[in-house]
């Protein structure tokens, strides 16, 4: 297949994936929340309420798009896109399976982090552009939260880059081939703190994507809907999709860096088309297990307080991740044969 063709096909796939994902993650979230709270959740529209996301989408689309008085039209309109587009762009480098990746970029990891930072900008502009006091407070919270959490996340990522010697996501996955104990999370020989590093990375990705218990930017019981307060119809819908796309990206990165990406837990990998499906199956299984954990966490904990969040970052996550970095470097240097 010629390269441009392939890329276009992938863009279509990725957009469809991101859109459907967002829609059905909402369904999962509502069903999951329902059962955690011992109720059923959506059940009226379609079997098991499976068509609920479509009904929701139609409802959002038919709503009037209006510009609140005093809002900045350009920023207000551009902000949802600035959350959605980088999330979709990040999908381009995610290896769903060994060969099932839009572009194998050598600096894939860097690219994802670069795009992830744009997401914050989108929320900031959206909050500021709405001209709503609650939204501005939320935007300010969001920025300081993201700055605080990018540091431990990057330090952990640097550790992983140091271990694998590459920023190519597919290469990182290949480095974890073999049994499941070859996945980085279980590689205590590289660093004794590997599971802790995974935890740090996971917590940071929760904070990065503004998910509970770190959803200070939305904080529905304090700031109505935070940065999204003024957004009508699909403006909100796009934000929402972007948020879920970001969750998928965050979880996908955790899977790739720590849980062996598309590697199966046993050293068995068929070749050809079957291999693609095999890899895809394992990648998505791990991905959705992690996303379920995200949902599970959301419906278990209360929201953290803002300064506690920063405390957690500066007093716990950053020192530990730095310590982990040094420990890993030492272990690699002292026991190079491992």
């Amino acid at each position: 297949m010629p390269e441009p063709f392939r890329v276009i096909l992938f863009i279509i796939f990725v957009m469809a994936f991101a859109g459907l994902n967002a829609a059905y993650l909402v369904w999962c979230e509502r069903k999951g929340a329902g059962h955690i709270q011992r109720r059923i959740g959506p059940k009226e529209v379609g079997p098991f309420g499976l068509l609920q996301p479509i009904a929701d989408g139609i409802k959002l689309m038919t709503k009037q798009l209006f510009l609140p008085k005093g809002a900045d039209p350009l920023l207000f309109m551009a902000a949802p896109l600035m959350v959605m587009v980088p999330a979709i762009m990040s999908f381009m480098v995610i290896p769903f399976s060994e060969t099932f990746v839009a572009r194998e970029v050598n600096i894939g990891l860097l690219m994802i982090f670069a795009f992830a930072s744009v997401n914050v900008l989108g929320l900031l502009l959206g909050g500021w552009g709405s001209g709503n006091k609650y939204a501005v407070i939320a935007a300010a919270r969001c920025v300081s939260q993201n700055i605080a959490y990018e540091i431990p996340m990057l330090v952990t990522t640097i550790t992983m880059v140091m271990v694998t010697n590459t920023m190519n996501l597919n290469e990182i996955v290949r480095a974890q081939a073999g049994w499941f104990f070859h996945w980085h999370i279980f590689r205590l020989d590289i660093s004794l703190l590997m599971p802790v590093a995974f935890l740090i990375f996971f917590v940071c990705s929760l904070a990065e994507t503004n998910r509970a218990p770190f959803d200070m930017a939305e904080a529905e019981s304090e700031l109505i809907a935070g940065a999204y307060t003024e957004y009508p119809g699909m403006g909100f819908g796009v934000f929402f999709m972007g948020e879920y796309a970001n969750i998928v990206i965050g979880c996908a990165l955790s899977v790739i860096l720590f849980l062996g990406g598309w590697q199966s837990p046993i050293p068995f990998h068929p070749v050809g088309f079957l291999g693609v499906i095999w890899g895809l199956f394992w990648f998505l299984t791990k991905l959705y297990a992690l996303i379920f954990t995200v949902i599970w966490i959301r419906w278990t904990y209360p929201r953290t307080q803002f300064y506690e969040l920063l405390n957690l970052s500066w007093k716990v996550l950053i020192p530990i991740s730095l310590f982990n970095l040094i420990l890993t470097a030492l272990q690699i240097k002292i026991f190079p044969w491992l």
Partner: protein, 146 residues
Amino acid sequence: MSGYFKELISGTKSLFIGLGITGKYFFEPVVTMQYPMEHVEMTPRFRGHIELIPDEETGEPKCVVCGMCQKGCPSKCISLEGEKREGVKGKVLTKYILNFTTCSLCGQCVESCKFGAIRFSKDYNLAGPRKEDFIFDLIKRLKEKS
């Protein structure tokens, strides 16, 4: 410093315990009732809006139009009329209107009735789009029921 690690470990533990509890409930059966499909049986003492009690033999309301319910009502939502008829002892009820929009279901009317002529109904599916839907003609209702 030891306090720092203690808090860190106990805190993390508390978070996992929390996850364990919600995780356990995730697999337990739901406790909610699917309301429009399932119906709740009201308890015998449920206080719905009032209704007239028919006389067992004639099916006519037992009410003798003494007006005590009207007098006892705090929100003045009962209005009734009666007339003298030949061959019947006392008054005959001709109109009994309950304005349910202002009724607070306190039960003063039922308590003040010395003739056991009104009781609470067990209706609770009463939502309606128009205010007029809640001006109940209780005589009409009684006839429809029987």
